[in-house]
């Protein structure tokens, strides 16, 4: 019996993506090509069509300091990139630091001030 790498299918959720990748990258014969042409651009999961990035474009997973920095560095050398970040905005100022500021400003109608400032400065 051949040894199977136990980690290979440890994450079963990756299997559909493996299948889609296999379907995309394997070169079908002419007959298969005709048969499968109607579904060739579809991923295995549902109907989401695949966005093929231009040759040389880098997909960056994560828009933190590292991802944003990499995007600007690649652009500096004329390379296109797409940054995917799960959060809607960049990191906000820590709540501890912000609370100490709001405490200071409570006495002088600070609540209104802080909400205005947090809107403006993305805290």
């Amino acid at each position: 019996m051949s040894e199977v790498n136990p980690s290979y299918y440890a994450d079963r959720s990756l299997i559909p993506l493996h299948l889609a990748l296999y379907e995309m990258t394997s070169t079908p014969t002419d007959m298969e090509n005709q048969e499968n042409s109607h579904k060739s651009n579809h991923a295995a999961n549902g109907d989401a069509s695949i966005e093929r990035l231009e040759k040389g474009t880098v997909l960056i997973a994560g828009g933190g300091p590292v991802g944003l920095m990499l995007g600007t560095v690649l652009a500096h050398y004329g390379v296109k990139s797409i940054i995917l970040e799960r959060n809607e905005s960049t990191t906000k100022l820590s709540i501890v630091a912000w609370r100490s500021i709001t405490d200071l400003t409570q006495c002088a109608g600070g609540r209104k001030w802080t909400s205005r400032m947090s809107d403006r400065w993305n805290f």
Binding site: D11, L14, L17, H18, A20, L21, Y22, M24, T25, A43, N45, G46, A48, S49, I50, E51, R52, L53, K55, G56, T57, V58, L59, I60, A61, G62, G63, G64, P65, V66, G67, L68, M69, L70, G71, T72, V73, L74, A75, H76, G78, K80, S81, I82, I83, L84, E85, R86, N87, E88, S89, T90, T91, L93, S94, A97, W113, R116, M117, N122
Partner: protein, 174 residues
């Protein structure tokens, strides 16, 4: 407080961003409704970059300290010891929130960078020709699949991409 090290500052200098980042880290001015100006989170260039080791805030004395020069002293040291062994830029303390917001505006105004915030990379698998990446939009639940030659994992210490590519992490938890 967040530190941008000398190598990162050198990189920022090459991009032409070093002076702006240093200014943002040194003094951030927030104008209030009156003419009052509050200096928030700025670290003067004369403040030493010392690190104090302490068991907690209840003690008045630190156990020990690592002593590092301030920006001005380090710049002078770099200038004096001009033998190629020194970095070309001193370090800079700057809040991650401020640094990221600055870089994001630089990315947004650059036509070569396409920032898609609110999109979470869910899975990725690679072959000899490229990588297939599945992402989901957090708000709408909409899914998107990308086929790309290069995927850069910049998603932190608990990287999902690293896990999918089965790249082990050196060392263990601290």
């Amino acid at each position: 407080m967040d530190l941008t090290n000398v190598r990162s500052m050198e990189l920022l200098r090459r991009l032409g961003f070093a002076e702006e980042v240093r200014k943002l880290g040194t003094e951030l001015q927030i104008p209030t409704m009156a003419t009052l100006i509050i200096h928030l989170s700025g670290v003067p260039t004369t403040t030493p970059y010392n690190v104090y080791i302490t068991p907690g805030l209840h003690t008045s004395k630190a156990i020990t300290a690592w002593e590092f020069p301030c920006v001005e002293d380090l710049r002078a040291h770099i200038r004096d010891q001009n033998d190629g062994s020194m970095p070309s830029e001193p370090w800079q303390r700057i809040s991650q929130a401020i640094f990221e917001r600055y870089l994001k505006t630089r990315c947004d105004e650059n036509p070569l960078v396409d920032c898609r915030f609110g999109w979470k990379v869910e899975k990725s698998v690679e072959s000899e020709n490229g990588v297939l990446v599945e992402a989901v939009q957090a708000q709408s639940g909409k899914k998107a699949t990308f086929f790309t030659q290069y995927l850069a994992a910049c998603d932190g210490a608990s990287s999902r991409t690293r896990r999918d590519m089965e790249i082990p992490l050196d060392g263990g938890p601290v």
